[in-house]
């Protein structure tokens, strides 16, 4: 799974899509995930990192990760041809 090109994410949690001109807010854990996606990490790597940093169980993290990816896709922020690994 890859984010669309030119998507800009600020440290404060603002995401800007220059193609549509739309802006979004993201919470800190969402920024962590976006940064890891941009760094090319796999879903498993990302979930491991989240579990390392936050107090939660794997099922919840994996479900919420999938839901988050769904939201990115819903808002047309991902590449159409997704990496199978993601």
């Amino acid at each position: 799974m890859k984010l669309r090109k030119n998507i800009a994410v600020s440290e404060a949690g603002l995401l800007f899509n220059p193609v549509t001109g739309e802006s979004y807010t993201i919470n800190p854990i969402g920024i962590d995930i976006l940064n890891m996606i941009q760094a090319g990490k796999t879903r498993e790597n990302i979930c491991d990192a989240i579990l390392e940093k936050y107090l939660c169980d794997r099922t919840t993290v994996e479900n919420d990760y999938q839901d988050f990816i769904g939201l990115l896709s819903h808002n047309h922020l991902t590449e159409r041809h997704e990496d199978k690994d993601a």
Partner: protein, 451 residues
Amino acid sequence: MSKLRYERPVIKKLEGGMPNKFGLRSEIQPMPTIDGNSVANLIQDYGSPLFVISEKTIRSTLKKAKKAFETQYPRVQFAWSYKTNYLNAVCNIFHQEGSWAEVVSGFEYDKAIALGVSGKKIIFNGPEKSVEDLTKAIQNDSLIHIDHLDEFYTIVELAGTLKKRPRVAIRVNMDTGVYPIWDRFGFNYENGQAWDAINKIMHSGKMELIGLHCHIGTFMLSPSAYGIAASKLAELTLALEQKFNHEIKYIDLGGGFPSRNTLKGSYLPGIDTNPTFDDFAEAISTALLNSNFRKDKLPLLILETGRALIDEAAYLLGSVIANKRSSTGRRNTILDVGVNILFTSFWYDHKITPAQSFSQYTEETCVYGPLCMNIDVIRENTELPLLNRGDHVVIHNVGAYNLTQWMQFISLRPNVILIDTNEKPHLIRERETLDNMNNMEKIPDYLVKIN
């Protein structure tokens, strides 16, 4: 290194140029404690969901209501509306504070008697009073509010049989400018039914007409309607005095005052818009004081308000079962609180606050209950922080009608606790068990074996 509190990842589009019409902030504060008790601990000790009633709030709300009326009218008596919440502990708090009992069925009447309320301090309303109920009420000198002529004739008969002079009032319905008119109860003022009933009672000579009663609606947002009702009852009272030289002892304006809840479809929250006790007291007492009563003949003003006195005192604690997304991308959160125990979610947009801290991030959320029924929706659309599975929530203003209209549907009804004025919790109604349900059932012999 200790780990951070988990919050699910969320992304939210910024939509400039579409502010809320009224510019309201959607800021929510967590509610980790109720009257000094941790929500998490209460749920651990008593389970989830859990009804929590604050004795402190009940007593302070009633004091506020009394102060509002007693500072404007010299003779005021509150009667606790059993149908609003008839848990014995709750009723007794009101009775300790001096409230009479207002009941609308034989079951409620027996409940009040069993709690030790004097028969003379029980107001018996409602369209269905059996001969057995009326007999008890007459023997106990209770205040019987006649709803229809069939009831009147039954009382005439019973008065003869029992050789007692029943103490009665009639319920009057009327046009107060609020529509539709509640005209299914009692006798109509405008078309003369009420005056006709009064004349029948007076000419029967079998009973003592001591009061006039009306109850003009529910969740009334217009105090002036009560002023109109008070004026019309005052006119009837004065007409009675003129024609029969008979003094009415009390005028009962019933209930119907709104709580702080927000009705579905309202633009603004109820806490900001609903009239206060002071507003109603002003309208009612002005109407009565401005009528032609002599100063020494002012009738007692009885108020049967229920919802406004108890709604804010109760909370329903629940837990998040799951989070999911609808086909349109909307956030759906499922709680363990269903409409079977939160009946009022059909009428109100109940305020829901998380019991634990959270960040500033929120999502528009549809809050569902746990029932396998499509109508099981607690809030259709509310801005909520990012709740995790297992998180606890507090649902506010649930004291009125939920604990009398709740249904044993699919699951068993939960514990109810009362937090006393010293902040100590007491279990006042135990969670139901399968045995409770099964004990009421009987299986015919031929159906006992299934194999």
